[in-house]
Structure formats: C-alpha cells, structure tokens
C-alpha cells in the first residue's frame, strides 16, 4: 500500500490490519509517535490524518492510505506546530516527555480549528491525552501562549 506521510510517499508492505503506529515506528523508523496503550485511551500516538487528530494505535494503515498523514517530525515546519513547540518550550511544559509528541499534535489540531480556546475548550480537546507526570496546568498555559503568538502573527 502507499502512504503519504509528511509530504512524502512511502510504499509499504504490511499486513492490512497493522496499525499506522507500528508502520511509522517499526517499518519506517519514525519513532517520534509513541506507543502508550494500544486502545486509543492515552493519546501518545496522536497524528494528523487529513489535518484531524487520530490515534495511530487503532488506525489501520490501510485506512490511512487514501489520506495525508502528518506526524510530530513534521511539526517544526508546520506554521501552527512550530508555534506550539515554541510555546511548549517557553512554558517549560515537558517532564519525562513521553506523551508530549501526542500533546503537541493534539494542541496543534485544536489551534488550527479554534484560534483562542478557553480553558474548558482546551480541556475538552486535550482530555484524550494522558500525562502521568502531570503537566496539565502548563499544557493549558502553553496553549494560551501559543494562541497569543498566533494571533500576533496574524496581526503582523
């Protein structure tokens, strides 16, 4: 099957039910997307499929073959993802960091849809992303910070 990931086409030989997560990690060596639960419970594997956040651990690669996939590795070059990453660094969000690829992907998708989310909207959009280190308060802060940066960029 053919997969379009971060603007690049890949020809993949994989079982049809193999989740996108393991294609990314074990076949393509793209390890930024993390395995946390395998049940769409934790959000560590969040990627974008046609711009929308999906859990790669339960998305069969075959189901993603007709769309475009973006992963954490592409976010530094993404106009919103780049700002989110910068806000994450400034707000000193990360601790162990394992869930943060997924957090950044979910936050980027949120800010594309909603440029000025409230705390409640942040909670609703981010409640699928677990963090055992407990970075949630700074995640909220960083999303507000990124929203501010994005609106400044728009005004400029």
């Amino acid at each position: 099957m053919k997969l379009t990931i971060n603007g690049k086409d890949h020809e993949i030989d994989a079982p049809p039910d193999m989740p996108l997560l393991w294609v990314l990690r074990d076949l393509l060596g793209m390890t930024g997307t993390k395995f946390g639960c395998g049940l769409a419970q934790c959000g560590a594997c969040t990627v974008h499929l046609n711009g929308a956040p999906v859990r790669a651990c339960v998305t069969p690669a075959a189901a993603a073959s007709s769309g475009t996939i973006s992963t954490i590795e592409a976010m530094a070059a993404d106009p919103v993802g780049r700002i989110v990453q910068q806000a994450w660094i400034e707000a000193d969000v990360v601790q162990c960091g394992y869930c943060q690829s997924g957090q950044v992907m979910a936050a980027t998708a949120l800010l594309r849809e909603n440029a000025r989310p409230t705390d409640a909207e942040i909670d609703a959009a981010m409640s699928g992303n677990l963090c055992r280190c407990g970075t949630y308060q700074r995640v909220r802060g960083a999303i507000h910070l990124a929203a501010g940066k994005l609106s400044k960029e728009d005004a400029a």
């Binding site: 390890t31 946390g36 601790q95 677990l130 280190c133």
Partner: protein, 728 residues
C-alpha cells in the same frame, strides 16, 4: 566556603580528542554490598577481557569548541536533573549556559550514588546527593582554566575573572575552549572555593529545561525508540498468576505468523520474536500455553483485605513507642478508633516497560530506561555469563519511572537478556500496556488501625497505630536493612511523625504479611499510605476535640519543638495563601494536610466539591520547604506532577485480584487523572535555607488526605479507604 578536595578521590584525564576532562574516582560505599568493582583487566576464565569504557568516569568535558559536556550519574525520568545537575556545574564553572550539553553516564563505579554506593536514581535524592560533587567538578575546572589563562596572560591567577565562558584579566581574554588543552596539563588544585549562596547567579533562579526541544519535536530517544540493523521485537507471554510456570506450549500457529522469527521459552514465560511489534503480538496471541499456576491462583483482594483487617487487631512488631499507650487506651473514657486502607497500585508510566539487548563475543549491550544501572549490570552479567564490566548499559530518556524502573529484581532487564540469549538475536522486549499493568511490582496494599484518646483540654493523651502491609525490601538484596522485623519504609512518616513527638503515650506496630504479590516503591513509597492514615486521623481527632483542623495541627507541631517547626512554617504559608478563613462557594469544602518526606516539608490545602458521587478538586494550594533549592521552575513542576500522581491514586487508582489474576489491564479500567480533572495548583516555596531536600516525591503524600479532609468538610462524610467511594 573552602571545600577541601580529597586527592585520593579524584583523577584527571586528558581526553583523546583534546580538551579538559574532570573526573572523579569515588570509592564504593559499603552500605549496599552488592555494588561490585569492575575489573577491566581480567575477565572470567576463558572469557576475553572486558572492553574498556570510554572515559569511564568523566563528569565534565570542556571541548576546544567551547562545549561544556556534563555527564549525569542519574537518570532523567521527568524530574528535571538534566537541567538541575548541569546548573550545579555551571554555577561554579562560570560557563556560557547555552554551550551546555548533557548525556547520561554509562554504568560504571565512578557514577555510584554518593549516599547509596550504587549507580541509582530514586528517593528524591539526585540533587542533594550531588549538590557538592557537581559543584566541585565545576569549581575544579574553573580553577584549572583560570590557572591556564594566568600562565598565558602572564598575570597572577588572582587578577583573572571568569565571565560567561571566558577568562578575563584586564584587556586580555580567552575562551574556555582556547584554554582547555593547556588547563588539562596543569596540576589540579588541592582545594576549591565554592561560591556563597548570595553570590549565585544561576542556582535558585527559574531555569528552563535543556531537554525541552528534543521532547517537543519527537527527536528525544526513549528506550522504546532504540533501533539498529537486525534488531527484532519480542513480546513475552507471562503467567496470568504471579509465580506461575509454563507446563507446556504449542507454538505451531505462532510460528506460522508472517514475520515471526523465533518462539522461545524463558523463565518468565514464552517469548515471540518477530520483525516488528504487530507480528510479535499476532504470534503471541496464537500461542497455546498450559500453565502451572502455582499457589497464587487463589489470591483474592477482598479476602486479602479481610485478612489484613483481622491482623490489624492483633499485636505486631513494635516500630516506635513511648509511655504505655495500650494501657492508657484501655483505661481511657473514650477512644477514637478508625481503620484506613489503601489498595495495590501500578506505576503506569507512560512509556511501557521495554529493554533492548545485543549479545556479542564476551559483551552485552543493554538499552533501557533504568533507575538502577549497577544492579541491572550485575544481574545481566549473571544471566549472560559475563563479568559486570563486560555489560554496557546505555540509558536513554525514561518515559517516567516513579520507582518501577528501579527494581532490585531487575525483572524487565534480565528477562530481555534471557530472550536474546535463547533466540540468538538482538531483541527489544516490549511490554504492552496490559503487560505493564498486570506485571506486578505494585505499591503494597495497606490497612491501618488507629486509636487515640484525648485529655480534658483536647490534647492527644495516647496514640496507637497498627500498620499491615507487605515489605518492599523483604526478599531483595536490600533485605539486610530490615531491622527487628521493621521495614522502615512500611512505617515512615508515621513512626517518626512530629505530631506524636509531644504525645506522652504512643505506640506504632507493624505486621508484614507475605501474600506473594510483587511489590515495589511507588512515588513517595510508604509515605503515600502513612500520610493518608495519619493526616486523616489527625483531622478526625481535631473534630473530636472540637478544634479547627489547622489550629489543632499547629498546637501539635508547636509541642514538637524543632521537630515540628518546618512543618508548621509550610502549614502557615499554605493556609495563608489559600485564605483558610475566607468563605467558600456553597457546597465546597476545604481540607489540609502537612507531611515531611525525603528531607522536605509540604503542606497542601485542597478545595473540593462533590456531586453525584464524584469528587471535583478545584484548587490546591501547596507550600514546600525543600531547603536550599536549585531550580524553582522544576520544583513547581514536580509538585504539580506529584499532586496529579497522588490524585490519580486517590480518585481512581486500584489494582485488585480475582482468582490470582489482576483485574485491571489498561487506562480504561486503571484510570489516571486527565486534563479536565486538573485542579488549579499554586506552589509556594518556603526558603528555610536548610540543607537541600528532595523534590520529586514529597508533593505526593499530602494530597489524598487533604482531599479526604476537604470531602469531610464539604459533605460530612469521612472517607478512609482509597480510592474514594461514596456509600449509598
């Protein structure tokens, strides 16, 4: 202050590629006898000599490119030492902070914990245990760079100043990188002068993490991300009951799965080795295994709790006593009695357990997120038939540890070596979330029975507590630390509670049953359950004495004198910042808890409401006194995180057993706190100037009792069992 430097403990190495390398040779402490010397010259009989480790004990390397490379003797698992330990070096060195690069040290004796004697990360010790060593490393390098500059400038060293990675004297200036080679050839100073706290420029200032960029762009490498040519992925089918063994298995269907390369039996079960995770999982699913489940097959949580409750009413080993509490309570007019209990808990780090192994001729390479390099190295050597020095341990970032990756039984590490050995292939053994949740090594379940009597003016006259729960140290290499039947971790924070210091009759007893559940330290260890029982019961006593819970605690802490002072100070700060006397919204309640652990003192005030049987924690105001502190930004983060960790347990965390099997499996039935449950957390640092204490764990113990006490304030219901459940 002048810090004398013991020359016998120190050595300098000229790096092969030039530059100044500061290294220490630290004799192994004898506290844990298991730590083993490395003998790089001689291997076991017939085995080739172990390969020498590159710069086996370098702590700091200054390159000719001005880079300042700091090696960590401890593992970064979120707690922020990737930033804090380099801050200690940089403060003394006076380098340009932007030139600092950090890496984990290899497993080698030089990196042994200054207090534990083995290379390890745990007990919230990394910063205080390295507070002098890492500053001395920086100071030594600075002195040598200054000496090199003075020689080059033709001036006295006293005329030189260090400014942001340069040595300056008058109009002359040289970068560290230009001086490094010359500095490395100079004799080391016999003593170094460490800066006074008032002169610090970096320490004590909020400093952003050095690992942030790599952790937001996906480039940070965790153990699970290790990959190299030829590496296979393995999953292990383990006994559904602890201690069970494989009786027989049929691997025909598993071997038929495309991508499966080997199916091998190992001591812990049957491993399926495949080209990738998905094939390994399909292969494991296809295994037919008959188990000999063993005696644990009848393990049942409800029965176990009933057994603990029964034991709690019988005399146990005495952990602490004064006066005659039993007699006093027997003769008291009224005795307040309560039972508190907590369940087993999984650590549930975000990165599931994993370990990568590559065996070679007389070598073994391990890549794993571990908190226990020395013990892993020794255990791996035994399984691989090598000397410890022939085992190389690579420590990538840890996707959370919380104690699970510091296992004296080295379970996930040695299992992977067994798989690699049996399969004859380099393997990454990966645990699914279900494997991780059901794999054991839990925070032990405990039951506490507490009794106390009050005298006429509402002071505690007699206090007795009996704790029932498994010992973490029993059966491990650390078992010698159990004294007179008391594993101090089982009673920490209770036997030595400052609340009891002024109580004339007191007695703490302990029962240590052995139900066969693998147990382990879980963020804040015994303090988790003991603070819950103590702070809840003290709250009950305050209400029995018809006193405000804060006023009651203040009186007890004052009676404890110096033993209670730091707790009193954080209590006062938290109460003031919260506005204890201010009215709350209708239906809201407030609760307080204060607890000392790991050398730090923490008070928390929680504001909650309860509706439809669900607890909502709105706000937590926390004050922490961790003594002289390094990075306030990290302290705030660690306290927030410790509160989240403790709240997850208090609101929903429990591991239970039915027919010997773990009931829970993944985040849907072992739920942890989500962002929409996150309270607003305020962290206030109380600067006592005392010696540095821990930061990673001390924020966890007070949160469950603070919330329980707030629930009582809001609803009148006293919840003494975790996780919180409301009666009908």
């Amino acid at each position: 202050m002048n810090a004398p430097v013991d020359l016998s403990r120190r050595r300098f190495i000229v790096a092969a590629g030039g530059g100044l390398v500061i290294a220490f040779v630290v004799p192994l402490a004898s506290r844990f006898a298991i730590a083993q010397e490395q003998h790089p010259e001689s291997g076991p009989q017939g085995a080739p000599p172990a390969p020498p480790l590159p710069q086996p004990n370098a702590f700091l390397t200054i390159g000719s490119d001005d880079s300042v490379r700091v090696l960590l003797a401890h593992s970064e698992m979120g707690q922020g030492i990737w930033t804090a330990l380099p801050m200690l070096v940089a403060e003394e060195l006076g380098c340009d902070w932007s030139k600092v690069v950090v890496a984990h040290a290899p497993a080698a004796p030089a990196y042994a914990h200054t207090a534990f004697g083995i290379q390890a990360t745990g007990g919230s010790t990394s910063v205080w245990s390295e507070f002098d060593r890492y500053r001395q490393v920086g100071a030594l390098a600075r002195e040598m760079l200054v000496a090199a500059a003075a020689a080059e400038f033709g001036v006295d060293a006293a005329q030189c100043r260090v400014v942001d990675g340069k040595v300056v004297a008058g109009r002359k200036s040289a970068r560290f990188g230009e001086l490094a080679d010359a500095a490395a050839k100079l004799p080391p100073p016999s003593e170094v002068k460490l800066k006074e706290r008032k002169d610090w420029r970096l320490l004590g200032k909020p400093t952003r993490r050095l690992d942030a960029r790599a952790k937001v762009d996906g480039s940070a490498v965790f153990g699970i991300d290790v990959q190299f040519e030829g590496l296979k992925v393995a999953l292990v089918a383990r006994s559904p009951v602890f201690g069970g063994k494989v009786k027989s298995f049929d691997a025909t269907a598993a071997r038929a799965v495309k991508g499966v390369r080997a199916v091998v039996e190992v001591p812990s079960g049957v491993a399926v080795v495949a080209d990738h995770f998905w094939a390994a999982r399909a292969g494991r699913d296809a295994l037919a295994i008959e188990w000999d489940l063993g005696p644990q097959a009848t393990l049942d949580s409800a029965q176990l709790k009933a057994d603990y409750v029964a034991r709690a009413a019988t005399p146990g080993a005495v952990a602490a006593q004064a006066g005659d509490a039993p007699a006093k309570l027997a003769g008291a007019r009224s005795v307040l009695e309560a039972q508190y209990d907590v369940p087993f808990l999984a650590h549930a780090a975000m990165e599931p357990l994993n370990c990568t192994v590559r065996l070679g001729e007389g070598t073994c390479e391990i890549w794993t997120g571990t908190q226990f390099q020395t013990l892993d190295q020794v255990a791996v050597a035994k399984v691989a038939g090598l000397e410890p020095a022939q085992v190389t341990i690579h420590t990538p970032f840890l996707g959370g540890g919380f104690g699970r990756r510091a296992n004296p039984a080295n379970d996930f590490v040695i299992e992977a070596v067994h798989v690699a050995k049996a399969a004859g292939l380099p393997v990454k053994v990966l645990w699914t979330r279900e494997d991780d949740t059901r794999g054991g090594y839990y925070r032990p379940a405990f039951v506490h029975r507490l009794r106390a009597s009050l005298d006429g003016d509402g002071s505690i006259d007699a206090f007795a507590a009996t704790a029932v729960g498994q010992s973490i140290l029993a059966g491990t290499a650390f078992a010698a630390m159990i004294k007179d039947g008391i594993d101090s971790a089982s009673v920490e924070g209770m036997a030595d509670s400052p609340y009891l210091a002024g109580v004339p009759h007191r007695r703490i007893e302990l029962h240590t049953p052995s139900p066969g559940v693998p147990v382990l330290w879980w963020r804040s260890v015994g303090h988790t359950q003991n603070a819950f029982a103590m702070e809840g019961f003290i709250d009950e006593l305050a209400h029995a004495a018809k006193q405000d819970p804060v006023a009651f605690r203040r009186r007890l802490l004052k009676a404890a004198g110096t033993k209670g002072k730091r707790n009193l100070d954080v209590l006062d700060r938290a109460v003031e910042a919260f506005g204890w006397k201010q009215p709350l919204p209708d239906g809201h309640g407030k609760g307080i808890a204060v607890h000392e652990s790991f050398g730090s003192h923490v008070a928390q005030v929680a504001e909650v409401s309860v509706s439809g049987g669900r607890v909502r924690v709105h706000r937590v105001v926390c004050a922490i006194d961790c003594g002289v502190f390094v990075n306030p930004l990290t302290i705030e983060a660690q306290v927030q995180g410790a509160i989240v960790y403790g709240l997850s347990a208090a609101l929903s965390g429990q591991i239970t057993f039915r027919d010997g099997r773990v009931v829970q499996s993944n985040f849907h039935d072992y739920p942890t706190l989500r962002i929409d449950q996150m309270p607003k957390v305020e962290v206030h640092i109380v600067d006592s100037g005392e010696k540095p204490g821990g930061v990673g764990e001390p924020g966890t113990p007070p949160i469950a009792p603070a919330v329980a006490n707030a629930i009582f304030d809001a609803t009148g219901q006293r919840l003494r069992s975790l996780p919180f459940r409301f009666g009908a």
